[in-house]
């Protein structure tokens, strides 16, 4: 009898303890009434009710940027009642996979959005339509000189233009202005440090332990940090690419045939990131730490994120924050950016092709509206038309992309190479490998991929 009672009691106590712990655990968001409910992005959106031409459009805009694009497409459908659009928003990595299988099966969409860095891969497969005829140099509507030379170069593979750029999106910092004020640091981006040592000091002032000591204090307890100055875990390969170029390094050799990330510049760049974690204790290791949640909960002072964070910052946290340009850890400035790009399957023909081109032209000519997504419109004329009061982060970060932006390497195996790099960066930023070993190992695998082509 006693055993039975003990058994039932044990099971019930376990159940109750689990529930109590669940309910009493700390919540993610700082409490506040001002936080509005997040807007869900529909995974499939049916836009327009026209019974005429129907377009299928795949993209990876699963965040609030998807909502912005769908609103633009709704205006297009209103102006073109004979055209309707089914938009499928698929997380980027899955989109790459789904596109490849769709092409094999002959079930590809009529138009899709990818990053410019994927153009060499899909271009080499011969599945993309040449879009040179859409630019004024080919007799089309899009002025070549309305796209920056850097962005334009990303649209090409083997001297053929395969893309029409929608935006430039890239790295920028979001800073918690309340934490800056508390630490006595100016929030004016013009006052940002220009050396690694300067940034370390800034992060140290912003990193606090449970006793309120910052990381410059001799009493600082690195085992009990409650507020991080920085976080290295936010998309590490983007940070690495920026730091690599800041130190004068390159991703690939000039002829694109040799991986050069394990140069002295690369090792110096990665070592700085490692030091932020293990030497200066101003960032948690990259794994096991949710950077966005950390920033949203007020435990991270400087979030290295990007243009896409604008709406997250405005709508989904109650943190007072503002955008800063990317850090400068090396002797020269560099920041990473990419471009969302429209592409069309090579086999699309007839009135459907006309409808797709009409839709792309509409979105391109209304790119100012696209700035509401947080991204920087690709057309220079649209960038100039942005209202500074409404779009400060787009303008600030857009200027850095134009002035010193660098992009992903251009190769038919970029995704594969970045996969190898990601794993090695993760090993280095979690104390499993030193910078040189990690980059040597990554370079070896990446070179094999590059050689296979």
């Amino acid at each position: 009898m006693f055993k039975r009672l003990a058994l039932v009691s044990l099971l019930l106590v376990t159940l109750v303890a689990t529930m109590v712990l669940s309910f009493s655990a700390p919540t993610i968001q700082a409490q506040g009434d001002a936080t509005p409910a997040p807007t869900a992005t529909p995974i499939v959106a049916e836009i327009g009710s026209g019974g005429g031409i129907h377009i299928s459009f795949w993209n990876g805009l699963t965040g609030s940027d998807g909502v912005t694009l769908n609103e633009m497409l709704a205006k297009f459908a209103q102006d073109n009642p004979d055209i309707s659009v089914t938009v499928e928003m698929i997380i980027w990595n899955t989109l790459y996979q789904k596109l490849q299988t769709a092409f094999v099966a002959g079930e590809e969409p009529d138009v899709f959005l990818l990053h410019a860095s994927e153009i060499p891969q899909f271009g080499s497969f011969g599945v993309l339509r040449d879009l040179g005829d859409q630019y004024t140099s080919g007799g089309g509507w899009l002025a070549d000189d309305d796209i920056s030379a850097t962005t334009m170069s990303g649209m090409m593979y083997d001297d053929t233009i395969y893309g029409i750029p929608l935006d430039n999106h890239g790295r920028g910092l979001w800073i918690n202005t309340d934490m800056f004020d508390a630490a006595g640091i100016s929030t004016d981006p013009a006052t940002a440090p220009t050396t690694f040592e300067g940034w370390v000091e800034l992060f140290q002032k912003l990193t606090l332990d449970g006793n309120g000591n910052n990381a410059l204090s001799p009493e600082f307890d690195a085992e009990n940090v409650v507020q991080w100055g920085y976080t290295v875990g936010e998309w590490p390969n983007v940070n690495f690419i920026a730091a690599l170029y800041q130190h004068g390094g390159t991703f690939l050799s000039e002829d694109g045939k040799e991986v050069t990330i394990n140069s002295e510049a690369g090792i110096a760049a990665l070592q700085q990131e490692i030091d932020l974690v293990y030497k200066y204790h101003v960032s948690p290791p990259s794994a096991g730490f949710d950077t966005w949640q950390g920033f949203g909960a007020g435990t991270v002072a400087v979030l290295p994120t990007g243009t896409w964070y604008r709406n997250q910052s405005l709508l989904q946290t109650d943190i007072n924050s503002t955008a800063w340009p990317n850090w400068q850890f090396g002797p020269q400035k560099a920041t990473w950016f990419g471009a969302h790009t429209f592409m069309i399957p090579v086999d699309l023909k007839g009135e459907k092709l006309d409808a797709v081109l009409k839709m792309i032209q509409f979105v391109s000519e209304n790119q100012v509206d696209w700035a509401a997504s947080g991204q920087v419109p690709a057309r220079l004329s649209a960038q100039e038309a942005l209202d500074p009061a409404t779009y400060p982060s787009n303008i600030l970060l857009g200027q850095t992309f134009s002035e010193y932006g660098v992009q992903d390497p251009r190769s038919t195996v970029t995704q594969e190479m970045l996969t190898y790099l990601d794993a090695e960066l993760s090993a280095a930023l979690n104390g499993m490998k030193d910078a040189k070993t990690a980059l040597d190992d990554a370079a070896e695998r990446m070179q094999e991929a590059l050689d296979r082509g």
Partner: protein, 310 residues
């Protein structure tokens, strides 16, 4: 009224053939029942297996126009592939921890819920419930539970003065953490199997042992475990097969990290086939995994199966 023999009476033209034996007729009937399954199995599974073996001899990229035959080159590369060996080592560790943990927890839970206690049905349902969740839901739940920043587990440990532990970021802890997740998720089904096994042990054996003065542990080790060996064999064999194919947990919870500390062989297969789009190499990985699982299953049958009393 027509009897079954009348309904199964042979057509006249068949009378010209020698009459099949009862055994043959039963075999024909059995295969006829199996036929629908075999048709679907052949179309949707066997054909895919044969194609996968075939693909493993080609350098097949999904959209590339040429698919060169390269013989055993994919297999040779696999044997020299450092990441493959890391993934295999991780998988063996993960499967060993998870199968052992699942078997122990499931057996303990089965014994607990077969006791004549109040609310027996409620506890059976409660303990089985995690098995009903998808791996996506389980992954998200455990990312939160194990979180360094907001996790309930670290929150509980903080009452004992323990600083937050980076369960998913520490290379030494990540596999045990994924294993713990999987045990919680997966012990419900083996628990049901053990309940059935326990109910199949005749009560008089326990009663006789009690009369002879055996204590609880002696009854468990000398009666319960030996008579559950067929069940234990089933649970461990199916467990190894399942855990060798673990994918959703590292994919959703850790992305294979930190570094490659939680790469499993199926995660690596996914990376090769669906990130690098090296389908031929991915097929070689898949075939090799199948061979390894078959070999381990055979060893399990030899080691545990020969001591099984059916």
């Amino acid at each position: 009224m027509l009897g079954i023999n009348a309904r199964l009476a042979r057509p006249k033209w068949l009378a010209l053939l020698p009459s099949p034996s009862l055994r043959t007729r039963e075999a024909i009937a059995a295969y006829l029942f199996l036929t629908p399954f075999l048709i679907f199995f052949s179309i949707f599974f066997l054909r895919a297996v044969v194609k996968a073996v075939d693909f493993s001899f080609y350098d097949w990229r999904l959209l590339r126009r040429t698919i060169p035959y390269i013989g055993f080159d994919n297999y040779r590369e696999l044997l020299d592939d450092e990441i493959w060996w890391i993934a295999l080592r991780n998988t063996v560790q993960f499967a060993a921890m998870t199968v052992a943990g699942t078997t122990i927890v499931a057996l303990a839970a089965a014994i607990a819920v077969t006791q004549p206690i109040r609310g027996q049905g409620f506890f059976r349902v409660l303990l089985y419930m995690p098995s009903l969740f998808s791996v996506g839901a389980v992954g998200l739940i455990w990312v939160w539970l194990l979180s360094t920043q907001f996790g309930v587990i670290n929150y509980g440990l903080s009452f004992f003065g323990i600083h937050p532990i980076n369960w998913l970021g520490d290379p030494d802890l990540v596999l045990p953490a994924l294993s713990l997740t999987t045990i919680w998720w997966g012990f419900g089904f083996p628990m049901l199997i053990f309940i059935a096994g326990l109910q199949g042990i005749p009560d008089h054996l326990f009663e006789a042992a009690k009369i002879d003065g055996a204590n609880g542990w002696q009854i468990f080790s000398h009666i319960t475990v030996p008579l559950l060996r067929p069940t234990i064999l089933f649970v461990t064999v199916t467990g190894v097969i399942a855990q060798f194919q673990a994918f959703g947990q590292p994919y959703i919870i850790t992305n294979g990290g930190p570094g490659r500390a939680s790469y499993t062989v199926i995660y690596y297969l996914y990376q090769m086939a669906w990130v690098a789009f090296r389908m031929g190499y991915g097929a070689a990985v898949a075939v090799t995994i199948a061979i390894i699982i078959a070999a381990i299953t055979a060893v399990q049958f030899v080691l545990i199966g020969r001591r099984v009393e059916y």
